[in-house]
Symmetry: C2
Subunit: 379 residues, 2 copies
């Protein structure tokens, strides 16, 4: 009962995460072309990818700028040679020691703070460790997650507190995920650029020129806003896209590069549905598309055949830890989807779905698994 | 900047998963006492624990019966010597080879099917591999996930198809999670026992006596139903409990054994809230308590101090991948929760929260980390 042939999506362990390399390459090329035409460098965010081979496609050289969401990612990518790494969450004092260790190892780490007190603590810690950071001040451009407002009285004092560690400003127009039209996305993109530019101009006028004026989210990165004064764009989910991004018009359905292969494990008699071995853990409990119009609501994921062709009307409507219930809008013939057959499920949200897996099964447009690429999860 | 003292919740990497061993032991003791008094063996479900040291507390001996939710768990626990393992999801043909390998390695694996065709395939595969399974027929007791109805015409033919591999019946009263009172939970517990007993009686009468008549869910396991004819109870989340289980009355708040330590990384000016470094990945996007009455809705988790004392009125109300926004029902003094301070966050649902972590930081009622216990994630 040992499989001796080359692995395919018909033989891998289920549930299994699939990355379509042909789509990944196309998504990378499109973003590079769009930003390249505008002359603004891309600093790819690897929070979804979390994988070296993907990083090397998105950011080929050791000195290519990258963005990470955890220090575990920073350490992992630094271990392979990356030297220009932006840790894109507020750096609390509990992480100063690990950040300093990265700096001591030769990484030009970009760190982010949004409070003068933290800036003072960070400067003291850097001095004590004999390292320097490139620290940006986080600006709130309307998402109201972290960051100070561009007009804040604390902006200049925070730069002063950073002293030699001061490097510029950064923001994230995450409210673009709430946009429901290209016009709304464009408006968020404009306010994102305007907010960080306003802050950078105030700092420069006060004697704190900004080497880094950073912004980004995948929807706004493609929205064509005025990027004058912007030194870099961060974006991540554009590598893979997902049903939510397709639902808000940021991509097309056939751009989606990630899916989960699942096996049919139950075919309840008299019910217009079937059970698969991909449940809440394999797909995540993300329901992002529930906020979209009904025709774009995907439950816990839309369903494709093993070749990746969408099977309209099928969606995972309920999940338990290791079970997913696929419901069909049309009557299912009794012989369809027998126990043991396989489907591929598209993600509502690529990032949390991928986070459940230790590795990608890489295909190149077909069902043959051409590579296994590891991921770095956790913190 | 190296930490040389013994780790505590004030120094571990954040976000970090915490297991309170004193509460775990109390929860284990209570379930063992409740079922022991009734003379029905417990087969602990390790789908949440996924960790050998916890397994050894819940099921001490190599021949102690255990339940698992993935074959990865089965292989992991078998590797430490466990020999009586129930894989509690429908076994599809794609998993026959791994199941057979476990059997060949000496594990008396309990597998589960709910269709005659699958039973036939499984019997053929077992014969071809020269192994035997103890296969139970899954019964649907009202959850309508998998399983056949106890009255199904397919029940006896499925046993016949299993032949020597037939071992009994099993069900799961997962609809107990929808119960909102002790009386409702008791009603589910009764129908759970009744369904599996009906199926077992039919099989026995037809010449297929059932060595295994298995049921369980943590709420129904404690509900005191008539368990005559039942050979074992499966339950898992009772080891840890969570805010949802507390909300439906299955446990008390001070029974919760899992939490996540997070660092405050943002304290936005003029807002009655603060940011922590535990977001959607660290807490999961589970919102189970949203189905409960308003006073029991916990957002993405209620907040405690580092000692584990609940801080009433604080809840994680929004999450992003690596950010959580804690909102306070009462005005927050400006000096409260400064950047760099730490809190513990209780889970809506213990299972998906734990799934994000490679290990537990084990405490024994205090803040000192007395052990690191690894987990087996994935498939």
């Amino acid at each position: 009962m040992t499989v001796t042939t080359a692995p395919t999506l018909a033989t891998i362990v289920t549930p299994g995460l699939v990355l379509d390399l042909s789509r990944l390459r196309r998504n990378l090329d499109r973003m590079a072309a769009r930003l390249g035409a505008r002359g603004v460098p891309l600093r790819p965010h690897l929070k979804t990818a979390k994988s070296l081979p993907i990083a090397r496609l998105a950011a080929p050289r050791d000195d290519s700028p990258i963005t990470v969401s955890t220090l575990a990612e920073a350490e992992y990518f630094a271990g392979d040679g990356y030297r220009d790494i932006f840790y894109a969450a507020g750096l609390g004092p509990g992480k100063f020691a690990r950040a300093a260790a990265l700096s001591q190892a030769g990484v030009a780490l970009v760190t982010m703070v949004d409070a003068r007190a933290t800036a003072e603590q960070l400067s003291q810690a850097a001095h004590a460790a004999g390292v320097g950071f490139r620290t940006v001040i986080e600006i709130d451009c309307g998402e109201h997650r972290g960051g100070m407002l561009p007009e804040s009285d604390e902006l200049i004092p925070t730069a002063r507190a950073l002293g030699l560690n001061f490097a510029g400003v950064a923001t994230h127009g995450g409210q673009s995920y709430g946009a429901r039209s290209e016009a709304e996305t464009a408006a968020v993109a404009d306010s994102e650029a305007q907010a960080v530019r306003t802050a950078a101009n105030r700092l420069t006028a006060a004697g704190w020129p900004c080497a880094i004026v950073s912004l980004g989210s995948s929807p706004t990165a493609l929205a064509g806003a005025d990027l004058s004064g912007i030194t870099e764009v961060r974006a991540g989910v554009y590598m893979f896209w997902d049903l939510f991004q397709a639902g808000i018009g940021a991509c097309q359905l056939d751009d989606l590069a990630l899916s989960v292969v699942a096996e049919v494990i139950g075919r309840p008699a008299g019910r217009n549905e079937f059970l698969v071995d991909a449940g809440a853990f394999a797909l995540s409990k993300d329901l992002s598309t529930a906020a979209l119009p009904p025709e774009r609501q995907a439950g816990f994921g839309w369903v494709c055949d093993l070749e990746g062709r969408l099977l309209p009307g099928l969606a995972v409507r309920r999940v338990w830890q290791e079970h997913g219930l696929v419901t069909s809008a049309e009557p299912l013939p009794p012989e369809a989807f027998p126990i043991g057959s396989r489907v591929r499920i598209l993600p509502n949200h690529a990032c949390p779905m991928a986070a459940a897996y230790s590795h990608y099964n890489v295909v190149n447009g077909g069902q043959a698994v051409v590579a296994i690429w590891q991921r770095v999860n956790g913190w």
